[in-house]
Amino acid sequence: MVTSILVRAAAMLGGGREDLRIRDGEIASRGSLTPERGETVIDADGLVALPGLVDLHTHLREPGFEASETVLTGTRAAAAGGFTAVHAMANTSPVADTAGVVEQVARLGDEHGYATVRPIGAVTVGLAGERLAEIGAMARSRAAVRVFSDDGLCVADPLLMRRALEYVATFGGVIAQHAQEPRLTEGAQMNEGALSGELGLAGWPAVAEEAIIARDVLLAEHVGARLHICHVSTAGSVDIVRWAKARGISVTAEVTPHHLLLTEELARGYDARFKVNPPLRRDEDVHALRAALADGTIDIVATDHAPHPSEAKECAWAEAAFGMVGLESALSVVQHAMIESGMLDWADIARVLSEAPASIGRLDGYDAPLAIGAPAHVTLVDPTAARTWSTSDLRGRSSNTPFAGRVLPGRVMATIHAGALTVSDGEVVDAAELGTKEGD
């Protein structure tokens, strides 16, 4: 078992090139260092050292939908994308609405070792939107759940949402709302607009997202609780979040990589790889989302990694499942959309893809990234690499990527989770090398 890694000459955020020694799961020293006997040496010349990435919005599908993804395959995909921690959404089967299920998911993450898995607990029993789930039991379980969400479904009942916001505060938690007014989106298939009218697909109006966000920020203000908005997708939503923050309301928001790059025009060919919830929007929405991420109105990027088996996507648009995989491609997409456009730098990337999501999720170990004595969660990126993305670049179980065929910049060359290499020379290490249970 390797216990010491020397990262040589990595570009450090806000500074020059440094060596980094990792020992027993911590950052042991930084500076100009000499290799020691038996130490694994990584030549990081030309690579950028980021704190390990944290995803606040991943669908790992286990238990219940293992044909799409498992904790093992999902965390392998995460490692490939430079993530060292993922928050696993609750829409599994059984739903993660009890301490038992969230502990099972967290334990599987620990056993496999590719990433820290933080389960997200359901807000309501069975995601049914009727009764609060046992939020306290999940919070106090060994999984220490701090994020609660019915994602995939909106907590539509305003009284229940108020109660959830109030109740979760007792346990230091946050409600992550999937903002989608259900009546306004019945049968909806894509963004509502001229294109949906032309294609004959039922439209998904922006107001269905914006109305819920407006309602919920006011509820959060009223009860003094913390609210997080999942996958913001419209310019109008950005305006509401901006207004709420200016008013002092405790709200955070996320945007997905695909909403920073792709537009509804991709629906034109009825290729269901581009069918996602919330739907791809207009060009002006993409611009507003990028600007909001740059000015801090949107706090983080979260992948909404949503794996599906091929049969769920190789069908007519209206019959296809919503969702895209995103863990492996997230950093490249954000580099393309935000760094290459000059709107963010690498330090900002560390903030929106590691520090802020860890903070929202109350995840320990990410508040002093790459500091001596901090847990060694490190991602080394080659920003000059570029490749034509394909399904062969995926490491999870499903291949529903919208980026196949696109040239994307950057490549994760190494990922270090709690001092252990999960990605080496750009490839995910195998389970035996990681010294953990395969279990798949």
Binding site: A194, G200, L201, G269, C315, A316
Partner: protein, 317 residues
Amino acid sequence: MKHLLSTRDLDRETAVRILDIAEEMSRTADRAVRKLPTLRGKTVVNLFFEDSTRTRLSFESAAKRLSADVITFSAKGSSVSKGESLKDTAQTLEAMGADAIVVRHGVSGAAELLAHAGWIDATIVNAGDGTHEHPTQALLDAYTIRARRFGDDARGRDLAGLRIVIVGDILHSRVARSNVWLLTTLGAHVHLVAPRTLLPSGIATWPVTVHESLDDALSTTPDAVMMLRIQSERMHDAYFPSEREYAREWGLTAERATRLGPDTMVMHPGPMNRGLEISSVAADSPASTVLDQVSNGVFVRMAVLYLLVAGESQEES
């Protein structure tokens, strides 16, 4: 042209050519033997995931008159309902030697998917997909308008300058969409009339004039008024308050029918809801083209199958 998926893809020249070939095909109706040998040895599959007796019979008739072998596959009650996917079904049909698949599906984009997913090589004819398009219906409507307006002088002509009013549930109508694109490509001025609840998003970007009053639209002295079927199953969705109010505001009542010009055609893709979107007086009047549309549907579908399946070599020979 390998597939017919949408009228949006058709340019004026191709559309006029289809109408001209349909006119040639119509002459076979007067012969003692109505069959042409054009598609002998070819297999045309009618793949219907939705019930539609008149469209299915029309395609069947068209293919048979061209001497094709015809397989009709109604997906209702078939293996499809046991979970077999569109992909599996299409691949099975192609393995059986289908040269063309005429597909009717309840989901928008299904025909596009079959044509471009790379699963099969067969020619795809869209016989109606969800609320997207129904291109052969629009072609037969255009053919009917042209034939009635120009008679023996129709060949080679488009519909330049004609005013066509389309009335009713534009939002859910694949017929309306296909007609809007085709009729405007052929030079007609298209006017749409419906309550706002039944107009699609982005209608302002369409090449049409939109009215909220049927009486206003009729005052433009149209050459044809095309009534769309109101689907009673949508009533509960509160697109309008009641059938009575709909008939009063947007129905072609007997009184409105009397105000139409002497040459104004009354069209309906069928089946009609008499007394709701159209009165019997209008439906049964000499102005009505409803039965012509049915007959012409066969000629237009013969033309489409001829062009797509027989291909250029047939035309050159």
